[in-house]
Amino acid sequence: MVDLRNKLVLALGERDGIPGQALQACAESAGARVVYVATQCFV
């Protein structure tokens, strides 16, 4: 298991994969602090 507690997470989402906000919600619920969040869109 990846220990996310107290980690500083850079959440790099993609609109056509998993968006940054969903990654952020997951990371924070696992005890991480999200320091950067982005959702890229290539279309």
Binding site: V2, E14, G17, L23, S29
Partner: protein, 107 residues
């Protein structure tokens, strides 16, 4: 990775406490996962962006990896990720990250 995105991440990574940082990816394909993870650990492999020759050494994990999933409360994971593990190429994504971690990226 976009040039602007590389620059933004470099600034965050250089702002301190890099040993506590990790990248959580939501990339949709094995290829994009490999490129992003490589760029943020070893530097921009295309030598085109602000991270060319700058190995930030950031470890990357993908939200679909079992080890990541286990760290997240099931109700949150189910709500936010749901059936995406059946839609995206989970096996390819996991293999791509294994290559980056063992230092044997073939592409």
């Amino acid at each position: 990775m976009d040039l602007e995105e590389q620059d933004a991440i470099r600034r965050v990574a250089e702002s301190g406490a890099r040993e506590r940082m990790l990248v959580l990816l939501g990339t949709p394909t094995a290829g994009s996962t490999l490129m992003t993870a490589l760029t943020l650990s070893q530097g921009d492999p295309s030598y085109a962006g602000p991270l060319a020759g700058i190995p930030l050494g950031l470890p990357s994990y993908h939200i679909l990896e079992d080890g990541v999933r286990e760290a997240i409360p099931p109700d949150v994971y189910d709500r936010e990720i749901g059936p995406l593990e059946f839609v995206l190429d989970k096996a390819g994504i996991v293999t791509a990250l294994e290559k980056v971690r063992t230092g044997t990226p073939s592409s």
